[in-house]
């Protein structure tokens, strides 16, 4: 595995004040390297999404530090942070969040358009990514016309269209049947992950554990274990 991309140290996040305060994440220390596929697993409410949001520049921690390629992201301005997310990070949300009134192609092109790419070029580019996820023929359809697994792949195409270094998935297989879920993760592992990228997946789904390089366990806001998957040691 390559160099370290993300380093989190002493990350903490709590919600509410006084008696109502819940500590979602405490004292989280870990790092992610290029070429790594990291899983974050743990029971519901253990702080996985919160942690993911803090390392991807979406949720400001109450304490600790996150660096991406050596830069302290929470010292950046909002605009710098937005730029960082646009250029370095690709998100796949659990319920995809595709615009229902746009075609799949236009949905995939959104990061490119945000990067100020000219419209036709953005569409040409987006089509390549749809091809990568095997949905080139569905380019002109609206997302609602696609199956859940296909929508997931459109969301993946959108996430990788901006050529990010870091890909973040929250529960990518939660709403898919076992087979489709496995296929998607296998696809991510073989086609999307490379040694200039890292993939972080939050999941409950033990059927897909075999694809992980590292599995990080969380419980009650704490990181309770870090396992390297020896099946994949090359």
């Amino acid at each position: 595995m390559g160099d370290c991309v993300i380093r989190a140290s002493k990350l903490a996040k709590w919600f509410g004040e006084g008696d109502a305060r819940t500590i979602a994440v405490r004292d989280a220390d870990f790092e992610v390297r290029y070429g790594e596929m990291l899983y974050i697993v743990g029971p519901s409410g253990s702080g996985k999404t919160t942690l993911l949001s803090m390392i991807s520049g979406i949720l400001k921690p109450n304490g600790g530090q996150v660096t991406i390629e050596g830069r302290d992201i929470w010292a950046m301005t909002d605009d710098e942070l937005a730029d960082l997310r646009l250029k370095k990070i690709g998100f796949v949300f659990q319920d995809y969040h595709l615009f229902p009134r746009l075609t799949t192609l236009e949905n995939v092109a959104i990061p490119l358009i945000l990067k100020k790419m000219e419209w036709n070029e953005a569409m040409r580019n987006a089509l390549q990514y749809l091809e990568i996820v095997g949905l080139k023929e569905r380019a002109e359809l609206q997302p609602v016309k696609l199956s859940g697994g296909e929508q997931q792949r459109v969301a993946i195409a959108r996430a990788i269209a901006g050529q990010p270094d870091i890909l973040i998935f929250d529960e990518p297989t939660a709403s898919l049947d076992g087979d489709t879920g496995r296929k998607i993760v296998e696809f991510i592992k073989t086609r999307i992950l490379n040694d200039k990228r890292c993939v972080i997946i939050v999941t409950h789904d033990s059927r897909i554990y075999e694809y992980a390089d590292t599995i990080m366990k969380m419980e009650d806001g704490r990181i309770t274990g870090l396992e390297t998957n020896h099946l994949h040691e090359k």
Binding site: T49, L52, S53, I58, L59, D78, D79, A82, D83, L84, R85, L86, K87, I89, F91, F93, Q94, D95, H97, L98, F99, R101, L102, E106, I110, P111, I113, L114, K116, M117, E118, W119, A122, R158, G162, D170
Partner: protein
């Protein structure tokens, strides 16, 4: 940025039902506002038409007079006193009254008769047929060729009408800048003939028209006339007085204001509400765009674009509908009074901008508030 506008446009237009509702709401509001104000403005300008047509710089009248139709006759000394006021170049009497004309077929038609000063013919209209001197010929009358002309059976020069058992012969056809409010034909004759043909009260002068030596003399003239117990108004002041009468004393102004405000509020609520649901429906997606890396101001621009695009399109449709309607009406009804002015267009545009502003403000607030983390958590 153009790409984002295109995305914003597609998000809006592809949502057919909401986009239609938005357009219908705004078009409807603009149509109503424009119609209402045009009607009002048309009626006002018609009611002031005689003041412009006669064209005198200063009008002397009884202070109780609110418009040209309801003139109150003044004694002769007002005219002679006016003539002796310093700064008056000349002063002439004007007769302005109504009469019944008996037509060839035996039916009666109301007309307005304007009697011009016998020596100067001050305030005479432009003739399109005939010679002005013929107004002095026996029974000489001029007929104004406007939308009302046909109500007299479109009499050509040489034809005869009957006013109070007096014979009136048409000696000229005139045209005026704008026609009056009440939809009756207008006849011009001399002052002396007017008061002999038409039964009058003891006093006969409806207005005294004054030509001042210079505009600087007007305030002095007004003071002197006021001393006589009468009122001297400049053309603009008289127009303003008539306007104020119709606007405030008849309740027409408040009514129009009320209707316009209601159309505005209806438009605002329909489009504000629809736009709000539109934003709410896409809110999570906007949140997702934020997570992906869209900046707040980019999303704001998209929303402003959507709001203003819809509003201006609705404005165009509304103004188009209103003006075609007016055109159509004018083809059917020559007297149709509504007139579309630039200030009405400007005002409606302002109202539409407010609708767009308010709608987008609500949307913008929502979108700026949405936290990508909440989207992420699902």
């Amino acid at each position: 940025m153009t790409g984002l506008f295109r995305i914003a446009f597609k998000l809006l237009v592809n949502d057919r039902s909401k986009f239609t509702a938005l357009l219908v709401g705004i078009t409807f509001a603009v149509f109503l506002m424009v119609m209402m104000m045009s009607m009002f403005s048309g009626i006002l300008s018609r009611s002031c038409a005689p003041v412009y047509n006669i064209g005198a710089k200063v009008w002397v009248m009884d202070p109780a007079v609110n418009n040209t139709v309801s003139s109150i006759p003044m004694p002769d000394y007002v005219l002679s006193s006016a003539r002796s006021i310093k700064g008056v170049s000349y002063a002439v009497p004007l007769y302005y009254g109504g009469a019944q004309v008996k037509l060839r077929n035996g039916s009666y038609q109301s007309v307005t008769v304007i009697g011009l000063d016998d020596t100067t013919l001050f305030g005479r209209p432009e003739l399109i047929e005939g010679r002005i001197e013929d107004i002095f010929a026996e029974n000489g009358f001029l007929v104004v060729k406007d939308a009302e002309y046909s109500k007299l059976g479109s009499p050509p020069i040489g034809s005869e009408l009957e006013i109070n058992d007096n014979r009136a012969s048409v000696v000229g056809i005139a045209k005026v800048a704008s026609s009056g409010l009440f939809g009756v034909p207008t006849l011009y004759t001399t002052f002396s003939r007017a008061i002999t043909y038409i039964p009058t009260t003891r006093f006969t002068t409806s207005f005294v028209l004054i030509e001042p030596r210079s505009t600087g003399d007007i305030p002095g003239i007004q003071r002197e006339i006021a001393r006589l117990g009468y009122e001297a108004l400049t053309r603009q002041q008289f127009v303003d007085k008539i306007t104020a009468f119709y606007t405030y004393k008849t309740g027409m102004g408040t009514n129009i204001l009320l209707m316009t405000s209601i159309s505005f509020l209806v438009g605002l609520s329909i489009s504000g509400q629809t736009f709000y649901t539109f934003i709410l429906e896409n809110l999570e997606k906007f949140g997702a765009m934020k997570a992906i890396g869209a900046k707040g101001r980019e999303l704001v621009t998209m929303i402003l674009f959507q709001a203003f695009f819809t509003s201006l399109t609705g404005y165009g449709l509304g103004v188009g509908a209103a003006s075609s309607f007016m055109l159509l009406m004018r083809m059917r009804m020559p007297d149709y009074a509504a007139q579309l002015t630039f200030s009405i267009l400007g005002f409606a545009l302002l109202m539409v901008t407010i609708i767009a502003g308010v709608s987008s403000y609500i949307g913008v607030r929502k979108v700026l508030q949405i936290q990508p983390f909440d989207i992420f958590r699902g």
